[in-house]
């Protein structure tokens, strides 16, 4: 089976968020389990030609955009681990400082840029004679591809029987554009209906993927169910509910080389499930870093953007209560001004108990995951979430809200004494969050029980290989839907 993964960002070429990590790791993991996977991405200015050489000028393509044609080339470079990376080049669109927009906002021609990319992928496959069994698309930037496979390019031999998989990483960004951008995509106005591409008078590119792809996935099973409800669906719950039979959830894997307590370069001392002595050193190092005295009470960590999605309003509400517990609290994150300010105020008020660092700091993030005893994620919604998985691997017991990927990766130790790996609460409510933290503190006091919870968490497998196998089985499903055997 040959798979082409199309994404607007891929590690190590370009990254603004978690999508790039997935798009970088998944093709390699697929190769390891025997699926021939390549990836394709726009050639941005950020792609370092010194590090990733390509011959250039690559395969020429001409891409129809409404009334005109835009030329481009497709460069090929070695993506490592046998993965070939194809880069669609058009300097007018992609030779810019940023991927999607500058600090003032999104680029005004984003619809045109990513229409060019999607149709460029189609033209390249059509003209270059390459063939893939599956195209795996990600988020709105590549969402037109499944629509093209089923409509404009349906007659092409390369696309007959080709399966399409569309993964939603972030439903919050849907690629909403002016209805007058529709003719540029080459799709007819007959598709501009609320059942297809229209969204309250606008063109919604993500819907192209949701409507036309054979298989839909999102990054956790719980999230895949949640987005079928108005609370999480961003107005697309209807479309997603329609497609519920084809909608799956696969939790992202984590990068074992970057995040492993036994090999982590950022932490004071390495440790493992068999030998946890190093974790105590990490904890001392962490408290020192934040200037907190070590008095033998548990350390609670938080890493993440300070906004409503990550539950900052709940943190705000329990701040005073938190300061009164037998706890040390460390916050790392930045985001909305009001939350930053209230957190900083809390830290100033209780300098020996609560510390906050308003920043994005990768090294410090490693130190918190390794040195804290408990990790807090009270997210309002969380498609997948990675920090709770890092916490499990680093023996740091997660306290999470039962939503999205958090619900799928953490089991409550009170509800399931034999299998619990953390503490969870269901309602988005300060009292319930307090209750979960209080239960964690009670468990911490019972050392053998705490050790068992830590050990169970560290034993879980969150490797990419496990996720890749699930994706591979969905590729088979997509092919069967297209009348082919996987």
């Amino acid at each position: 089976m040959k798979v082409l993964l199309a994404s607007s960002e891929i590690v190590p070429y370009a990254k603004t968020g978690g999508l790039a990590d997935v798009a970088g790791a998944l093709p390699k993991a697929l190769r390891r389990i025997g699926v021939e996977a390549d990836c394709i991405m726009p050639l941005y200015r950020t792609v370092d030609r010194g590090q990733f050489p390509y011959a250039g000028p690559g395969f020429p393509i001409r891409v129809p955009l409404g009334h005109r044609e835009e030329a481009g080339t497709v460069e090929e470079t070695d993506g490592g681990d046998g993965v070939r990376a194809f880069l669609i080049r058009n300097d007018r669109y992609f030779d810019r400082e940023f991927l999607y927009g500058n600090k003032d906002g999104d680029y005004v021609d984003n619809c045109e840029r990513f229409t060019f990319f999607c149709r460029g992928v189609m033209e390249w496959i059509l003209r270059s004679g390459r063939s893939y069994d599956i195209i795996h698309c990600n988020d709105w930037q590549t969402a037109l591809i499944p629509a093209y496979v089923k409509t404009l390019y349906a007659a092409g031999a390369a696309f007959r029987g080709m399966g399409t998989v569309f993964t939603v990483h972030n439903l919050g960004y849907q690629g909403l554009f002016w209805n007058h951008d529709l003719p540029m995509t080459g799709l007819g106005w007959d598709l501009f209906t609320p059942q297809r591409l229209e969204f309250y008078g606008k063109l919604n590119l993500m819907k192209a993927g949701l409507v036309f792809a054979d298989i839909l996935t999102t990054v956790s099973a719980t999230y895949s169910r949640e987005i079928q409800t108005p609370e999480y669906g961003y107005g697309l719950e209807g479309v997603l509910y329609e497609r519920r039979e084809d909608l799956y959830g696969i939790v992202n894997g984590i990068d074992d080389e970057e995040w492993h307590p036994a090999t982590d370069r950022f932490i004071a001392e390495n440790f493992s499930a068999g030998d946890l002595r190093g974790k105590a050193a990490c904890r001392r190092d962490l408290l020192a870093e934040f200037g907190l005295p070590d008095e033998g009470v548990p350390v609670l960590g938080f890493i993440g953007r300070l906004n409503a999605q990550k539950g900052s309003d709940l943190l705000d509400q329990i701040g005073v209560w938190l300061a009164g517990q037998r706890l040390r609290v460390v916050f790392l994150g930045s985001g909305e001004r009001r939350y930053e300010e209230s957190m900083e105020a809390l830290g100033r008020k209780h300098p020996d108990r609560i510390a906050i660092r308003v920043a994005y700091d990768n090294a410090l993030a490693h130190k918190i995951e390794a040195g804290a005893d408990m990790f807090l994620m009270p997210s309002r919604y969380e498609p997948c979430g990675l920090n709770q998985i890092y916490s499990l691997k680093y023996g740091t017991v997660p306290i999470v809200r039962e939503t999205g990927g958090l619900a799928d990766t953490v089991t409550d130790a009170d509800a399931d004494p034999a299998g619990g790996t953390g503490f969870t609460f269901r309602r988005y409510d300060a009292e319930d969050l307090k209750d979960a933290i209080a239960r964690a503190l009670a468990a911490y006091a019972d050392r053998p029980r705490w050790e068992a919870i830590v050990q169970r968490g560290m034993a879980l497998d969150f490797s990419w290989d496990a996720s890749a196998r699930e994706y591979a089985s969905l590729y088979g499903k997509a092919l069967r839907k297209r009348g082919r055997t996987g």
């Binding site: 409404g66 009334h67 500058n102 003032d104 999104d106 680029y107 007058h180 951008d181």
Partner: protein, 819 residues
């Protein structure tokens, strides 16, 4: 504003940088507002946009709220209102240092909010005002001349950004419209189906215009009323129903004035208020003009305040409408041509129906069957297609008309259930019988009933047609003929007398009850012609019936004779069978006794025992053959018909004789015609015929000889079929026995059963064929066999009825096309 003169240059530079950034205009304006608010310590910087359709100012972006929130604010500042309105009217900055103590005239509370000082700077270039920028502070503020110059420069920069963004969006929109127009142009040339085209154009253009609803109405031919062809986009049922009537009024106006109508404001149309009440914010209607007349109207509605149609859209849609006009015009011409063709077809069909009916009537001579065919022809959709038909015949005494037979629905329920059955011929046959009314003979009309038009038609020997009923019609609320004919038939009907040899023998009554189709003059002509054919056929039938009665008498006498002859033949046959089986039985008995003796005496010779057994077996086989062939005569073997190629059967059977003929030094000559048609026969029986003829010939030519087999298509005088001939050189049959060869058990040979040729004869006859013998004494014999293409002819009448049934399906097929 605090003194930060040094910073003004760098601030302006930042504003220029933001305003030239390659992002959405709202993002840029929002950043400028945020930046200004931060740097000038204003509590709110807000930009109002000038409404595209007038001079009203609506909130656009503000440093206080998010972009989406700001555009959702539903208030406007009119010219001269509040502070922004005054700045817009004056085209110059307006400053109110303390609105709390001296507010502006026509104050707009949502502009003032809780602020103290408000400065309004118009956002304009040297020609056009794009909006107004308000800088508001909670505390009292003052602005120096430099501050004012700085803010005016910012406002000018903003104006430039807005202008560029408008140009950019206009260009994109124009391209989008062009592409769509191009698509429409291509799409409408692909089909003649005007409904498809209208649907496509309506949907596409309504989406292009962001309209919420679209209706297309076309003028109907003749009266010129507008008929709704496409109507979509009204989700709310009340909105839909109410706006229909209003939309129709507007459409009629546009249709007559032949001018587009754009309604955005009360002054545009007296209907504005009515539209607004139904939630219509903007209305656009255009006539579809061709050669100086309006073919119809296309109208668009917007229920969203964001979408107001404008004159640009009017021009765009005029282009679409002129394309559409061509298409509609073409479609109308095409439809007219189609209708003409249809009318012709109906006429042709009528004539051929009459012909078919005449043939069907002539195809049968049984009166009941004939009458059924007649009535069926009257009510069948492929026939004269009346709703109901009743046949009256004169009673024996000649004083009254009595119902003989009737067909068609008796009440509405039956009419709904449908007319003559479709399907297989027997199903149709069943259907015809099912349509007959039982108890029809109770309908009785005394000829003396003077007001009765049926009686009148018979007495006057003249067809009668009425639309107003007869004197006895009770008004016919729900006429049910079952309650008696008079007073229960509809007002509209036709009666045609049946005149045979100058005498009226009865009448046919037809009507179109439960149908919308009126009885036309043409129908009466056809019906009259039909009646004369029917009279002829009835006359034939009655003649035939009397002939048949005579024939029947002759036949029964003959049958009795044949019966006694058959008994004689049976006796003769029994004697022959007894003779035939006596020989083998004697042989079997003899050898069986020998075996028994040998077994009893112990001196058994295995070799001779085997030989005896062999002989017994052979004789038993012979007995079996005799029994089998005898059986053939005693039971009726129905041929199982298949399409068969005679030549290949001949070759197959001939192959079975190859060895035998080589041994007997017989040469074979075949002359098989390649033009032989496929025939319908029982292949097993055909092979038996061939086998018997060949075996007969081979046995006749003991020693040596020539077997000739020839096939050919039958000559026209022989009938449709095939002929094959088998000749031998076996010296022929002595002339004194030749007449016996087809009799069972006659044989001249030692080996034969005497049943071969009689079986051949029987099979050929059963297939409707003939067999001839050409006997040349001293030379040889030629058997000629004729087989028809089909063993049995099906009745002509059934086939014609079947054709009529198919004709009915044809006609309903025509009706399916919209006229």
């Amino acid at each position: 504003m605090t003194e930060r003169a040094d910073n003004r240059f760098s601030h302006l530079a930042r504003v220029v940088e933001i305003s030239n950034s390659n992002v959405q205009i709202e993002n840029r304006l929002k950043h400028i507002c945020d930046f200004l608010s931060r740097e000038t310590e204003a509590d709110c910087v807000c930009i109002y946009r000038r409404d595209g359709h007038g001079d009203d100012l609506a909130p656009w972006v503000s440093s206080c709220v998010e972009i989406e929130e700001c555009t959702r604010m539903d208030f406007v500042v009119r010219p001269e209102e509040g502070i922004a309105g005054k700045a817009a009217r004056k085209r110059a900055p307006v400053f109110y240092p303390d609105v709390k103590t001296s507010p502006p005239s026509l104050a707009v509370p949502r502009e003032l909010r809780e602020f103290t000082s408000i400065l309004s700077v118009p956002v304009m270039d040297d020609v056009y005002l794009y909006g107004v920028m308000n800088v508001s502070t909670l505390r009292p503020a003052s602005y120096s001349a430099e501050d004012m110059a700085f803010l005016s420069a910012v406002a000018t920069e903003v104006a430039g950004a807005v202008r560029n963004s408008r140009l950019y969006n206009d260009a994109r929109k124009r391209v989008s419209e062009l592409i769509t127009l191009n698509e429409i142009g291509r799409a409408i040339t692909t089909t003649f189906e005007v409904n498809d085209i209208l649907g496509y154009v309506a949907t596409t253009t309504s989406r292009l215009l962001s309209a919420d609803g679209v209706t297309v109405r076309l003028a109907t031919e003749g009266r010129g009323a507008l008929k709704s062809m496409v109507d979509e986009g009204y989700d709310h049922p009340v909105f839909r129903r109410e706006s229909r009537a209003l939309g129709k009024q507007l459409a009629v106006q546009i249709h007559h004035e032949m001018r587009p109508l754009l309604v955005n404001a009360p002054e545009d149309s007296p209907f504005h208020a009515a539209l607004a009440r139904r939630g219509v914010v903007s209305f656009l209607g255009l006539p579809i003009l061709s050669k100086g007349r309006s073919l119809g109207v296309i109208s668009y509605y917007s229920a969203s305040p964001r979408v107001r149609f404008d004159t640009e859209m009017v021009h765009l849609m005029e282009t679409v409408c002129s394309q559409l006009a061509n298409v509609v015009e073409n479609a109308i011409v095409f439809q007219r041509a189609q209708r003409l063709a249809q009318e012709n077809q109906v006429k042709v069909q009528r004539i051929s129906t009459l012909y078919d009916v005449a043939r069907a009537l002539m195809s049968t001579v049984k009166t009941d069957r004939l009458l059924q065919v007649m009535l069926y022809a009257l009510v069948s959709p492929g026939g004269l297609n009346f709703s109901r038909a009743i046949l009256f015949l004169l009673a024996e005494d000649g004083q009254a008309l009595v119902g003989r037979m009737a067909m068609g629905p008796r009440d509405r329920e039956e009419a709904l259930r449908g007319g003559p059955a479709e399907g297989a011929p027997d199903a149709m046959e069943e259907g015809v019988r099912g349509m007959l009314w039982p108890g029809i003979e109770t309908l009785r009309i005394p000829l003396a009933t003077t007001h009765c038009l049926v009686a009148r038609a018979v007495l006057d020997k003249r067809a009668v047609r009425t639309e107003t009923g007869c004197g006895g019609t009770a008004g016919g609320a729900v006429p049910d003929v079952r309650a008696g004919f008079c007073g229960n038939h509809p007002d509209s009907f036709v009666v045609v007398p049946l005149v045979i040899k100058g005498e009226a023998r009865g009448a046919i009554y037809v009507d179109n009850q439960f149908r919308e189709r009126p009885i036309a003059d043409e129908d009466i002509q056809v019906l009259t012609m039909f009646a004369s054919k029917a009279c002829l056929a009835m006359e034939n039938a009655s003649l035939y019936e009397s002939l048949e009665r005579a024939l029947h008498d002759v036949r029964s006498t003959q049958d009795r004779l044949v019966q006694s002859e058959k008994l004689m033949a049976l006796g003769e046959m029994a004697a022959k069978i007894a003779h035939e089986i006596k020989n083998p039985l004697t042989v079997i008995g003899g050898f069986a006794r020998r075996i028994a003796r040998a077994a009893g005496g112990g001196a058994s010779d295995p070799h001779s025992t085997a030989r005896y057994a062999q002989i017994i077996l052979k004789e038993v086989q012979r007995l079996e053959r005799i029994v089998q062939q005898t059986l053939y005569f005693s039971r009726e073997v129905v041929p199982a018909l298949r399409s068969v190629d005679l030549n290949s059967e001949v070759r197959d059977v001939l192959a079975m004789f190859r060895e035998e003929m080589e041994e007997a030094r017989i040469t074979t000559v075949s002359d098989l015609s390649p033009a032989i048609p496929v025939i319908s026969v029982d292949p097993d029986q055909l092979r038996q015929v061939l086998w018997n003829l060949f075996s007969n010939a081979v046995q006749a030519m003991e020693g040596s000889g020539i077997l000739t087999i020839a096939t050919r298509p039958a000559r026209p005088d022989e009938g449709a079929g095939v002929v094959f001939q088998v000749s031998d050189t076996g010296g022929g049959i002595p002339h004194d026995v030749v007449h016996n060869i087809f009799n069972p058990f006659f044989t001249t040979k030692s080996k034969g059963t005497g049943l071969g040729l009689p079986i051949v004869h029987a099979i050929v006859e059963k297939h409707g064929g003939t067999i001839h013998l050409d006997n040349r004494e001293g030379q040889g014999v030629t058997f000629s066999v004729f087989l028809p293409l089909f063993p049995k002819e099906t009745g002509a009448g059934d086939r014609i009825l079947e054709q009529m049934r198919k004709g009915g399906a044809n006609e309903s097929g025509i009706k399916a096309h919209p006229g």
